[in-house]
């Protein structure tokens, strides 16, 4: 994909809209699951109508209490979280949270998870029949209680099964959110595509740990947690690029995006949309500033359409030199 530059100074604002598996987003910036609550929490800071999509906090069939505290701890240029996927449950979400979100013109993507294939399937089913959910995002970074608590998203076979099962359940666009804690993310994305995913989102958090040296104890009650924030951005950009080389379905990139420039790294590496996570905590208006910044970048570069930069990374031939 070459980079077209419009000759004359651009008069009109560039097109920012992108298409993810049939879902048209007015711009490529969405919220990352678990960092934007159910939309309501940030609605006084952000005009929700301006977002590309709203991805809500991870949902499960049965409400979950979550983990004991401390659940979060800061790390260099990042943070660990072990919320334990506390959520009100799908029923309460549909009844109590979804009506608020239906007021906006912005697509709502329901992130969900389960601890068995059956639970995933039933969760997807309930979400699919609700009014006002435009796509599903499957979080597969959860342990499978039927298979020795192996994380779904780290075992290609289990991953294939659970995606295929959910695929049969829902007609909504199905986004599969990959775990970065794997050897070969390109291969895993291929598995997801072949199992029926309409789009891939990545990265979820990287497992990490912080030790309280005085007490000889992990800081987090859950011992380990998921690393997010700018610290992981180089890893996330690399993984998006590897996935871009592996699959044909669209990619939603995330991991440490704080600014428009960060978002553009993902888009150039092959993401068709991006999600903003930890940055919301640091700056509640981050999403809006990122949208504006992307628009400005396109205008300054004389580009009329965001799609011109997606996957535009120029690389020479890959060599196999030692890293």
């Amino acid at each position: 994909m070459g980079i077209k530059r419009t000759e004359d100074k651009i008069q009109k604002t560039p097109n920012l809209s992108v298409n993810i598996a049939g879902l048209k987003l007015k711009n490529p910036v969405m919220t990352a699951s678990g960092t934007f609550g159910y939309g309501e929490e940030y609605s006084e800071f952000v005009d929700l109508n301006k977002l590309g999509a709203i991805v809500v906090k991870g949902l499960s069939l049965i409400p979950k209490d979550g983990n004991p505290t401390p659940r979060v701890v800061e790390t260099p240029a990042g943070m660990l979280n072990a919320i334990g996927l506390q959520n009100v449950g799908i029923k309460a979400f549909i009844k109590g949270k979804l009506p608020f979100l239906r007021q906006f013109q912005t697509p709502v993507i329901a992130n969900f998870f389960g601890d068995s294939i059956d639970e995933y399937v039933r969760a997807a089913g309930e979400l699919s029949s609700a009014d006002g959910i435009h796509a599903l995002e499957m979080n597969i970074s959860c342990p499978n209680k039927q298979a020795g608590w192996i994380v779904f998203g780290t075992d290609p076979k289990i991953m294939e099964q659970v995606i295929a099962a959910v695929r049969r359940t829902t007609a909504l666009p199905l986004i599969v959110k990959l775990s970065p804690n794997v050897t070969d993310i390109g291969f895993m994305s291929k598995v997801a595509e072949n199992s029926g995913a309409d789009a891939i989102s990545l990265i979820n958090t990287i497992t990490g740990m912080v030790v309280n040296i005085k007490e000889r104890k992990p800081v987090l009650a859950n011992i380990t947690g998921g690393l997010s924030g700018p610290a992981i951005r180089p890893v996330a950009v690399r993984m998006v690029w590897e996935v871009y080389k592996s699959v044909r379905i669209p990619i939603i990139g995330m991991g440490g995006i704080m600014t428009a420039n960060d978002a553009l790294e993902f888009l150039i590496a092959g993401a068709r949309a991006v999600a903003v996570g930890t940055a919301n905590f640091v700056n509640p208006t981050a999403t809006i500033e990122i949208i504006q910044g992307i628009e400005r970048f396109l205008a300054e570069d004389g580009l009329s359409d965001i799609n011109e930069i997606i996957g535009s990374l120029i690389t020479g031939d890959l060599n196999h030199d030692m890293p």
Partner: protein, 265 residues
């Protein structure tokens, strides 16, 4: 009127080795805070420290916000390094606030906990029996202000360098046991270290007193979005009317809770 705004630092005064008083002038119109509410303050424009840190409103007056803070780790050290005319981003006021006291009340402050309680003393002048404990006389900050705003003040320090030597909760217990006042109508407002609140909780249980305490938890967002800051709270199940505990957010449903609701581990 926004709860996310820029503010200019016009003071960052050391009160002793570890305590500082931060004065901010918001650069846009802000909401008026209530006693017990807090703000998330940016400590640095770099990516380290990344997250904002929560601080109780200490004073709001004539367009300035004041915060009393103690230097603990990276965030507060960074904050202490900020100087005149530096600008920081601020979210707030956040969370609930202390319910209005009925007539006189008891306030129990442990160390930096005075920061959260002083606005209450100030709003309800001369209504409080203040119990104020600290490590030593040096850390009994804002004592004169507190005295002038309270009805009576009892002081303890760990080392006896001012007031009685010992725990402030012991002094409170003696006070309640003394027949000097009828305390049953008095509500207790508290902010301080966890062991102090826990002890208070058992005192109140014993005496049938109501106590509202401000709680602390590691926070990431401060606005209820991340569920990082939860605390175990007893709640009535609306459907079957049984009691169960749930995790509520200190930043949203709190930071002030009725201590009877707290499930202590």
């Amino acid at each position: 009127m926004h709860r996310y705004f820029k503010a200019k630092i016009t003071g960052n005064t050391p009160l002793n080795e570890q305590f500082r008083l931060l004065t901010l002038i918001p650069l846009s119109e802000i909401e008026i805070p209530s006693p017990g509410q807090f703000y998330m303050l940016q400590a640095s424009s770099a990516l380290v420290p990344l997250l904002k840190r929560p601080f109780s409103i200490f004073e709001h007056q004539a367009g300035t916000l004041k915060f009393l803070y103690r230097i603990r780790g990276k965030g507060t050290s960074c904050l202490a390094g900020l100087g005149m005319d530096d600008t920081i981003n601020v979210i707030g006021p956040l969370g609930n606030s202390y319910p209005e006291p009925q007539e006189d009340f008891i306030a129990v402050a442990g160390g930096i906990g005075i920061a959260s309680l002083l606005p209450l003393l100030s709003r309800f002048k001369k209504k409080a029996y203040l119990f104020y404990g600290a490590r030593n006389s040096d850390e009994l900050v804002m004592l004169n202000e507190a005295k002038s705003l309270s009805k009576e003040v009892a002081i303890t320090t760990d080392d006896g360098s001012e007031g009685q030597k010992g725990l402030i909760t012991d002094v409170l217990r003696d006070f309640l046991n003394s027949s000097r006042i009828t305390y049953h109508a008095l509500q207790i407002y508290a902010c301080g270290p966890m062991p102090m609140i826990k002890e208070l909780s058992s005192i109140c249980m014993n005496k049938g007193l109501r106590c509202y305490a401000s709680f602390e938890e590691h926070m990431a967002c401060g606005v209820g979005a991340c569920h990082g800051c939860v605390i175990k709270v007893r709640r009535q199940n609306t459907e079957d009317r049984t009691q169960k505990w749930i995790y509520e957010r200190v930043c949203k449903e709190g930071p002030v809770f009725d201590v009877r609701e707290i499930v202590w581990e």
